[in-house]
Amino acid sequence: MCAAPTDDRDARHVSLASFGEDATSRLRAAHVLIIGVGGTGCAAAAALAAAGAGTLTLVDFDRVDASNLARQPLYTPADIGRDKVAVAATRLATQHPGISIKPRAERLAGEALQAAVHAADVALDCSDNFASRFALNKACVDTGTALVSGSALRWEGQVAVFGPDYANAPCYRCMYSDHDEALDDCQGAGVLGPIPATIGTLMATEAIKRVTGTGTPARLSLYDGSTGEWRQLGVSKNGDCPVCAAR
């Protein structure tokens, strides 16, 4: 007997030790929120859509620019000027018709951000600035939602997983504070094309583990592509954290 097409798609997950049919079903039922579909977000969304994450909400107010094409493979030269989330949703839906993709071409803040986070099983921070990162972290802490944070610049990247037990574990704000400033953005400092994709793909793995209850979350991981070096660090809960300390 031939299996249904959707079963064929999932065959390598079903046969994967410590994953199998149960985790595959949980992944099919999962809702992942992706904030930002730039370099890390494109890679995370593509990997999650291919892996069969049931529902993806993509949030980004940005439009495709020629300078994005070297590291954001969901976009083509013909897409320049269009809303990133619309292009990404169309492309991913064509490749993976079995999943639901909700594009939101807006800058979510306040209650709207909190509602979007609350509706998701896990949020992926693929944004490109500290203000957005702090806002998403607060919404995740407020709603008790797990957060997978990833960032990339120059030759380097970082991945970390937070929550959902913020009463006993750190949040993103325990790790980064208002004093932290990015040395530069992509425009100023540049970024090697594959670095964001490396980070975004790792974020997808962490998200899959989270929504399926498989594996253990990664520690804060630092990657230096210029030497191929990885460092893994522990992050402690900050007793004075303005976001998660009182929880």
Binding site: A189, E229, L233
Partner: protein, 80 residues
Amino acid sequence: MKTINVRYFALFRERAGRDSETVETTADDALALFRQLTDRHGTDDPRGHCKVAINDVMADWDSPVADGDDVLLFPPVAGG
């Protein structure tokens, strides 16, 4: 005097011109150590441009440093 093994990650390797170094210091905390190092290497980055970990755990600038500690300096990254 205490002996601290300092490791420079990513951008800071380029700035310091080395992967790591062993320093003899009287610094009591991470910030005092950082100031000695930035003086030595002629960089004047505000500390907001640097994160610090001690013995593979993220630390604050007022975290104490002890003889034999491994201190990692790495840049904040917010890009996507």
